[in-house]
Amino acid sequence: MSTGPTLSVTRRRALAQLAALVGAGVGLPAAIGRWLPRPRAADEVTTELDFDPAAERRTLIKQPLGWLLIGNSMLNSRLYPPHLTKVSGWTTRKLGVGGTQSAIWWLFFKNILIASGARPPWVTVFFRESDLTWPDFRIRGNNAELIRRLKTTDEPEWDEVMAGRSPVASRASVAVERFFGVADHDDWARRRVQDGAFELTALEGVKRGARRLELNELFSLDRLRGDLGDDGGGAGAGDAAPAGGGDDSDMGLPDPGMYAQAPTVFDPSPAASFLPHFVALAARHDIRLHFHRVKRRPDNEGRRPELPVFRRYMDDLQEYLHSQGCAYSDESADPELTLAWYQDGDHLDKSRREAFAAKFWALVRDQVGPPPPGGGRKPLSEG
């Protein structure tokens, strides 16, 4: 063992090097994550981060209402509550944040409305095809921050739905993101890569926004082939087939991350989505739920035929909602909603909101009914 001391020195150095490798390898990204400035507001493509759940709860407490509307930019571009109040007589209010999806709508309902004690007779949720049973759609980036603000320490329904569903949802993943302090930068960084690719290939000097709209149009749902099974086919079998819709945040700009796999089979089980939890919680608090499906951007003739992949899904969804005593309406077959009503993507031109309010009320009046005296306002629940 005459080489013992030498070996020991070598081993010590090797250990120090391994420690340095791991320490620097892990520590450097954490340091960079803390050093990187938060993405500026201009980069925040999904949610409005000034949204304050506590303030919303306070407003609901102060101003009891009869009809709450929940949704994202589809709702925001369609309805301005005073217009709906004017035509329907109901006292209305909306919780609509651009770029949000069903996970956040569930938290709006549970942790803002129910937690506030307000018990409006009606709550309407605006959605597109299978948004309601796609719980892990749009829960990252700035939406993750919004979810963090909305969630409480005890969320059994959330845990049930999200358990094992998405690596993003796992606690370990969240802990890692917090440690590295870069949870807000993923969308930002990916968008930088996309923009870089655009800049590199900017033929004819077309603007970035216009190119995104081109891409949106190219990959729109009605251009998808019908021979792909649920697995998307091809050697990427098991990969997410981009059956899902485009971005509904703000401009409807495409982002690779938005093309996740939309569910095409309706699953009513409580582990599959927040929808059954929505229904059950509403029933417990004597609130009637109404789900309104919006019409996607039509063609020049105002048509937007149902995509084959969603036909069965939509039938099953309606059947489920009716079996649960929920109201349902669908504007997607409305021939009067022509292209002239639309601004960008699936968003309506805001100048049409008043007209849309009248159209919407005509569509749902039979189900929602006239408001009781006082605009349907109900006092706060004692619970």
Binding site: L21, A197, G234, A240
Partner: protein, 495 residues
Amino acid sequence: MVFQGFTYLWFLLLVLAGYGALQWPAARGAAWARPAQNLWLLAASYTFYGWVTHWWLILIVTTTLVDYTAARMIAASGGPRHRRLWLTASLVVNFSILCAFKYFGFFAENVGTALQSLGLASDWLTGNPAGRFLLTVGLPAGISFFTFQSASYVIDVYRGKTNCRHSLVDYALFVSFFPQLVAGPIERSENLLRQVESPRQPSLAGWRAGLVLIFWGLFQKIVIADSAALLANKVFALDEPTFPILWAGVLCFGVQIYADFSAYTDIARGSARLLGFDLLKNFDHPYLAQSPGDFWRRWHMTLSTWFRDYVFIPLGGSRRGPLVTVRSVLITFFLSGLWHGASWNFILWGVFHGALVAVWPWLARALPLLDRAGGPAGAIMRVVLTFTLVHVGWLLFREQNVAAIGRAFSLDPSGAPLAHWRMAFGLVAEAWIYALPLLVVLPALAALGLLPAHGDPRLLTWRWTLLQAGALAFCLLGVIILRSEVGSDFIYFAF
């Protein structure tokens, strides 16, 4: 259990803890320690494989027992007839299992179609319980890999190239070693089984190399492959893509499949290094290949050498005249295509590559530029040409609908609007930005001799430690801020 999930991280840490605890007595010469380590790794490997679908274990255990017994019987048999009989029995069982689970649906569908066209009953294969089971059960992960790995051992014993092994645990671990079980590299007994039987000495240098490989593999998968997959999947989901859009999708798929498979291999090799094992290399900058043959010496190298040793050479190889060579090449690549998947597009892909490999030497004789001439410019031209041909192959590989493949080749480039060219360039640029480290930086470093091989003493200097730390940090930061929102399984899990 997938490499890129936290479950695998906890699993690997647990395996390493148990393995490390046994390493202590092993390093001090305790005779029981290495067998105990192998038993621990075998238990871990079976846990890994049966994690989601427990009954898959029946298949791997059956393959192991059959091949272990066959090899023992071959070694014990005196006459060539008995030896051949046991080899045949082993191969029949191995490939029957593989065919039943991988090719039954394809076979039944095509036989059914043929019978139907003749006006005969078309459901005699699928109308019984066994047929229905095989149609609905799905492909067990990794079955093509462990079948080939195990079969190679029996063939080698038959040929006298390797000794018959007596330890069932060692052999079972060779067949099921979890880092490479599901998607390779396809190991040979002289490499992996020899290491299984020898005392391992996990070193700190090995740990460093293993960590770098794992993090680099995660970067390739989560950042490069999954991002490129999003783009490629969008294109291949289009009903009527134009010429530039379709080929942009193919180029994105070229990035995806390389990064995806290379990622799996690197995570497998990294995990094995942590345990003191050195797995075979599977990739050597394949997109720098200067001919189709060169591509196959750089792409999925362990599969290529398997087919070379067990199919191409027994068929006659390249020393029995040009016709035998062409025939052998075509059959080998036909089988290679079929190995990848039970679908006509994979067969087309295999035959396409077979034709390229067979024809290339003839063309090179007429056009020396295709061989070695032309200096650096000639080399660049050959790389570009090979890259293009390989991507034509990727279209066949990715598109399972044969009619769509036909449509793709009939697209007119001049018929596409300029906006589609613009978008196509944008899609490819995006995929290539993610892939820069894999497709540009690493090949450049390798070409400049700046990438020391595993075991190079330079890696033990502080300078290289810091460089590796920087690489690790880069990979980790990339995984955190550039990871694709939509993850996907490794492509080769489907084979």
